[in-house]
């Protein structure tokens, strides 16, 4: 019988309550450690299709009669459209339709950031659409842009109300402290730059809208479109078989999809609306900049007595303020914490989730502050962190469902112990050092999520669920989970994903939630199919079902008998066994989070300010590891993105006009293969015994969280300089070195 329960769902730290239906007979977790398939390295099930250029991404779709859209975007950070005349545009060659702000509400006459969409045109080719837009006559009234986030807070230009948090009494905590440190940290605006830009193709067939879209959330896109267009959800079909990266920016349909849907409706043709790279870097979201004014107080033995922070987030014209205070509230056993978070509404492109939004930024501030505290206390930074360990989320006094951070620290000792050896490499202007930082982030996933497993007479299985694989390898993990449960080699399992009309509801691929949300549903579905197979075998071979199991492609009996699976399923001829599974609830009264520590080794040229990262050791605790090969790729990818965030990436704006100065990939500096340090990955691989039938948490985001702080702390170890602003450009490095030198001389730092 279906059992209805009320449970909690979390995505990136946002908790909501909801009803779910759970299976009556939950499946026990597998024993810890590598199994036959789960826990073994597996190559991507769709690796060859992607590598051979056979995989069809949204960008590759060419539907018959398809039109292409160009969007007129504001060149100004803040303006009012006084006149918008598209009559010449409408007459231009190839043009099939135009949209103004009177037609759809995602276009505006009062743009609030450079790139805000104002009008759109659909034509037979993209070139024609662009040329037609050149003929648009627009009179702009240019308004003064508000660009400084601190100024925005002073003026009360906020995205939403300030978020205040108090635990204990921070001021009393600081009074009790033997040592107090205080510093201001800044992080920059970072652009996602997935290689496939945001895009969709919309097609109407009668009253059904099909949206092919490069997305991280098929079902969320479906809901948002249905709601905005006032359609029944089942009339919206969303398809994404392959997508070229998202990193958090592709959780929603976006203005481009609503523009495409409307133009498709008006023209009766399929319509592609794809952002160019430059549009991508103006209008598709970003990791917002932050200013963090932080204080920490501790007893002489390192026990934290108080933490306080004022956080200003440069959210942009729309978007949300990321939870930058999260690490300060949750990472350590500090009884007194006081934070306030302001989301500044300014005339810059909107913020969007970007791989552990808020926690990347907040961890940089907090973990650098902790090292400054350790230096003042003359305490080993790793020891300081051990002494402030907590097994409880002190925000709501709930225990963590599993936390092996101390084990991560123990394994980090080996890398941390290389300090003397690394420092001894210093020669001439090149100073070497080692730094570390801890990681906390969500990643527990949650219900609802569903999967079906189909087993045919040939004894092969197909997993069906309408989730997406954004490049993290979740499709492969699902194949492994089903294969393990069915006792099949992974090659005998197909995984069909990517279409809301071809499978059940599936989780968002954000918040490191795909594996922990989908994996248990797939396992439950495979278990359901396996149970039916064993029931059939028991009847066919006159055995008790409890002595039978599925192993190595066979039905195996406890008394030694075995039958090839296809012999049992072959009885069915064209009939099929259908298993279904649902994701169960998260453990009540607990908090499910991921943990880890990274140890960075750097070299700094103190004359030129050049920083080189030589090595990063990453030790993370994400519960059971499904695919160690894919997991190591996730860790490496996160660290490399974090490296760009730390050293080279920054969206630059003109401080007067707000114009974005680096919209191209030669001007916006992402890491290349030549920038990559040695990366050592270790995963604790202990199942979270409280978390579903799988014990796995997500791994997409944890590895990017501590990288910047670990590098900054290594720089301090190498040079004595406190870098407090990202990216650590040569300018910032030289400023920090100068400040350190002046501090050593006992004179105040020049600004």
């Amino acid at each position: 019988m279906a059992r209805l329960i009320r449970t909690e769902k979390e995505v990136e730290g946002n908790y909501t309550e909801q009803w779910i239906v759970v299976d009556e007979d939950p499946v026990e977790q597998w024993p810890a450690g590598p199994l036959e398939v789960v826990g073994q390295p597996a190559v991507r099930v769709d690796g060859a299709a992607r590598a051979r250029g056979e995989a069809i991404y949204t960008a590759d779709l060419q539907l018959p009669g398809m039109l292409h859209v160009a969007v007129l975007r504001s060149p100004h950070a803040h303006a009012r459209v006084k006149k918008l005349d598209l009559s010449k545009t409408e007459e231009a060659p190839g043009v099939r339709g135009v949209l103004t702000p009177d037609d759809v509400d995602v276009l505006t006459r009062e743009p609030g950031y450079p790139g805000d969409p104002v009008a759109a045109v659909a034509a037979d080719s993209f070139g024609q659409a662009r040329a037609a837009l050149e003929l648009a006559e627009v009179d702009w009234e240019v308004l003064e842009p508000l660009l400084d986030p601190d100024e925005a807070v002073r003026r009360g230009s906020l995205i939403d109300e300030a978020e205040r948090y108090e635990r204990g009494d921070a001021e009393r905590g600081f009074a009790e402290a033997d040592v107090v440190v205080e510093a201001e940290y800044r992080t920059q605006t970072v652009l996602h730059n997935p290689l496939e830009t945001h895009q969709s193709v919309c097609r109407w067939e009668g009253d059904v809208l099909t949206v092919y879209i490069s997305t991280q959330y098929i079902w969320g896109v479906r809901s948002e479109i249905a709601e905005k267009l006032e359609m029944p959800e089942d009339k919206v079909r969303v398809v994404c078989h392959y997508m070229g990266g998202g990193f958090g920016a592709k959780n929603h349909p976006g203005a481009y999809t609503f523009i495409g849907a409307e133009l498709a409706k008006r023209t009766g043709r399929p319509v592609r609306c794809a952002l160019t790279r430059r549009e991508e870097n103006l209008a598709s979201g970003n990791r917002h900049a932050t200013i963090q004014r932080l204080r920490a107080g501790a007893k002489a033995d390192g026990t934290l007595t108080a933490l306080a922070g004022e956080f200003v987030m440069a959210v942009g014209w729309t978007g949300f303020k990321s939870w930058t205070a999260g690490p300060m509230k949750m990472l350590y056993a500090c009884p007194n914490v006081s934070t306030v978070e302001h989301g500044a509404k300014i005339n810059t492109g909107p913020n969007a989730a970007f791989r552990a939004p808020g926690f990347v930024e907040g961890t940089f501030g907090l973990e650098c502050l902790l090292d400054e505290l350790a230096a003042k206390l003359e305490l080993d930074p790793l020891e300081l962190r051990r002494r402030n360990h907590t097994d409880t989320d002190l925000v709501d006094d709930r225990p963590f469902s599993s936390k092996n951070l101390l084990e991560c620290y123990r394994r980090a000792d080996r890398h941390w112990g290389r300090r003397d050896e690394v420092r001894a490499r210093s020669k001439g202007p090149w100073k070497h050092g080692v730094g570390l930082a801890s990681q906390i982030w969500f990643g527990g996933g949650g219900p609802p999520s569903y999967a079906w497993v189909r087993v045919g007479s040939h004894g092969r299985a197909t997993v069906i669920t309408a989730m997406q694989d954004i490049g993290t390898g979740t499709k492969t993990a699902m194949a492994q989970i089903a294969a393990e449960e069915l006792g099949l080699p992974v090659e005998h399992v197909e995984v069909v994903i990517g279409d809301s009309a071809r499978g059940p509801y599936a989780s968002i691929s954000a918040g490191s939630s795909t594996v922990p949300s989908m994996g248990p549903a797939v396992r439950a579905a495979a278990h359901d199919a396996a149970r039916q197979i064993l029931e059939i075998a028991a009847q066919r071979y006159h055995l008790e079902e409890r002595v039978l199991s599925l192993r190595g492609g066979k039905v195996v009996s406890a008394d030694g008998g075995s039958w090839p699976l296809e012999e049992v399923t072959g009885l069915l001829e064209d009939a099929q066994i259908l298993g279904k599974g649902a994701r169960g609830p998260n453990p009540a009264g607990m908090r499910v989070l991921t943990f880890g520590v990274q140890v960075a080794e750097v070299a700094v040229d103190v004359e030129t300010g050049e920083v080189r990262v030589d090595r990063i050791a990453a030790i993370h605790d994400v519960g059971r590891v499904i695919n160690p090969l894919g997991a190591s790729s996730q860790v490496e990818g996160g660290i490399i993105q974090g490296l760009g965030h730390t050293l080279s990436e920054e969206r630059l704006i003109d401080p007067e006009s707000g114009a974005v100065l680096n919209q191209t990939l030669d001007a916006y500096k992402m890491p290349t293969i030549a920038d990559v340090p040695e990366i050592v990955t270790e995963l604790i691989d202990v199942p979270d015994e409280h978390l579903t039938n799988l014990g796995s948490k997500g791994l997409g985001e944890p590895p990017i969280v501590p990288t910047a702080a670990a590098i900054a702390n290594a720089i301090r170890d190498a040079t004595g300089a406190d870098v407090r602003s990202l990216p650590i450009s040569r300018e910032e490095m030289l400023r920090a070195l100068r400040e350190a030198k002046e501090r050593a001389r006992g004179t105040p730092a020049a600004v």
């Binding site: 190559v43 991507r44 769709d46 690796g47 060859a48 992607r50 590598a51 051979r52 250029g53 056979e54 995989a55 069809i56 991404y57 960008a59 590759d60 060419q62 070139g127 996602h192 730059n193 997935p194 290689l195 496939e196 830009t197 392959y242 997508m243 070229g244 990266g245 990193f247 160019t276 790279r277 954004i470 490049g471 993290t472 390898g473 090969l629 894919g630 190591s632 790729s633 490496e636 990818g637 996160g638 660290i639 490399i640 993105q641 191209t664 990939l665 030669d666 992402m670 890491p671 290349t672 293969i673 030549a674 990559v676 990366i679």
Partner: protein, 145 residues
Amino acid sequence: MFELTVNGQSYALDVPVGRSLAAALRQDLGLTGTKVACGEGHCGACTVLLDGVPTLSCITLVHTVGDREVTTIEGLRDHALVEAFVRTDALQCGFCTPGQIVSASALVEANPSPSREEIRHAMSGNICRCGAYPKIEEAILTWRD
């Protein structure tokens, strides 16, 4: 009307002047394995070979190709590098991967046993935002295994 030789096959093309090689391959010939990620020659996703030389097809006009032989990922599907990329997990979202493999094929053609440094030099024009770089390096180091 002119002839274009792609992966050993000859095609008669009649496309407007100004069309990029990438657009001709993807839209006119349906060879969508070649990806366009920036459209202005900065990222390497659109890399193809012209007479064996890695070339950015998004900023190459199709009318300038002349009688040079074009090789795209579709012509390299049986190259050992493809298997090496899959085996070492040298791809995540896969959008840059065809361009990576095309670039790598030119490298190993000229230098079948490149060092790490040589790989890093030859491959630094191909951006991978997912950060598959360590495994791309491994794939190219071990491509003949």
